[in-house]
Symmetry: C2
Subunit: 204 residues, 2 copies
DNA sequence: GACAAAAATCGACGTCGTGTAGAGTTTGAA
DNA sequence: TTCAAACTCTACACGACGTCGATTTTTGTC
């Protein structure tokens, strides 16, 4: 997101600015945890990164751009992880694996994910990023449901519609649980997994 | 929320200020729809209500207080409506009735409800208001689940935990659907109802 | 209907955070 | 060495917020 100076591609040695950029994002993440988005000021970020406001505006055009870059960095990581996870064939296993992975993601990046959700409305760029991420999950859930025998086409239990609802359930449940504690997150995961299983027709 | 002058209770004739207060909230709601929370300024609200900024600060201490009052007004209405709805005995009927009512509420007050959700984090007062509202729904869902035979105590399918997850599913699904169209809202409702039914063990 | 108290309104002010401008310094490749 | 780019800083202008004190209008009472 270094919008100002386009030609900083193909390069072996790391520019000083690349480091700064990373430090800025790290600082932003820390401040987000400590003060929250509204209370966090551009001056705070700059100070935390050891530069002045003026210098920060060389890297990012606004406070929103900083946070957008932070979200982008995190979301990038989510996508990587999603790609890396092998798709199990057996629905029960697939569901268990997916929930396990989701718990991990929220444990590691809960703060930024919550921020992304919160800012999805006011910062369209972030909204886009998050919605693309959600679509990834919805697609995956849909696949599992269909493999478990849920009809792809008939309303209202068509797989994709159900997948969407289940995705929002997981998002919101984890959103809240991740604010509390790891234990809550684990319990929330169990509950969501159970509902997912039942919805897939895999009753115990 | 007329915090400034406490002793305005028991009164038959309506003060001029009571009208203004209502006009301010109405204006705020309209602006919220047109520009969104961030873009909406205190000056905008005042101008829309036909007064100056200074006058508005006589009624409310801040922009947040105005929106909080608006949310409070709406939430009050939700509670009223919830109380008025008779609790059907038969689970299937109860679920159908609840979803029907939820669709109505989101159709009428979707904008303010979405705003309440968005500001739950940054405005603690609103967070409290909304969380209390959610608890109402969770309690209701729990009751239905238990009446349908879901164990109240055993993990992870204890009724209250499932109810919480289902509540968040409905909230988030309706949140998104109500931004699109009434049709989407209706479809979303069907899907949520289906998942709720299945979760209650009332498989078709 | 007059009059005092309360309610309501206004305009001006100080503060804070944002984003921009321009000038100066460092870095690195030719 | 030199020159352009990458980088940094201080200073400024703007907009929104919230406060203050003075002033006008409304309200209830005699």
């Amino acid at each position: 997101m270094p919008g100002h100076h386009p030609a900083r591609s193909r390069r072996t040695t790391e520019r000083k600015g690349d480091v700064r950029e990373r430090v800025i994002l790290d600082t932003c993440e820390a401040l987000l945890a400590r003060k929250g988005y509204d209370a966090m000021t551009v001056g705070d970020i700059a100070q935390g990164a050891g530069i002045t406001r003026g210098a920060l505006y060389f890297y990012f055009g606004s406070k929103q751009e900083v946070v957008t870059a932070l979200v982008a960095r995190t979301v990038e990581h989510l996508w990587e992880r999603s790609r890396a996870t092998a798709q199990a064939d057996e629905p029960r296993q697939a569901i268990a694996a997916a929930m396990r992975r989701t718990v991990e993601l929220w444990n590691e990046h809960g703060l930024v994910m919550r921020t992304a959700i919160d800012l999805s409305l006011s910062v369209p760029e972030i909204g886009e990023l998050w919605s693309r991420t959600a679509d990834l999950f919805i697609t995956a859930i849909t696949a599992v449901l269909e493999r478990a025998g849920v009809q792809p086409g008939t309303e209202p239990d068509q797989a994709s519609a159900m997948a969407r609802a289940l995705c929002w359930m997981i998002e919101r449940t984890f959103y809240h649980a991740s604010q509390e504690s790891r234990e809550k997150l684990q319990k929330a995961s169990s509950t969501c997994e159970h509902i997912w299983l039942v919805s897939a027709g895999l009753t115990v």
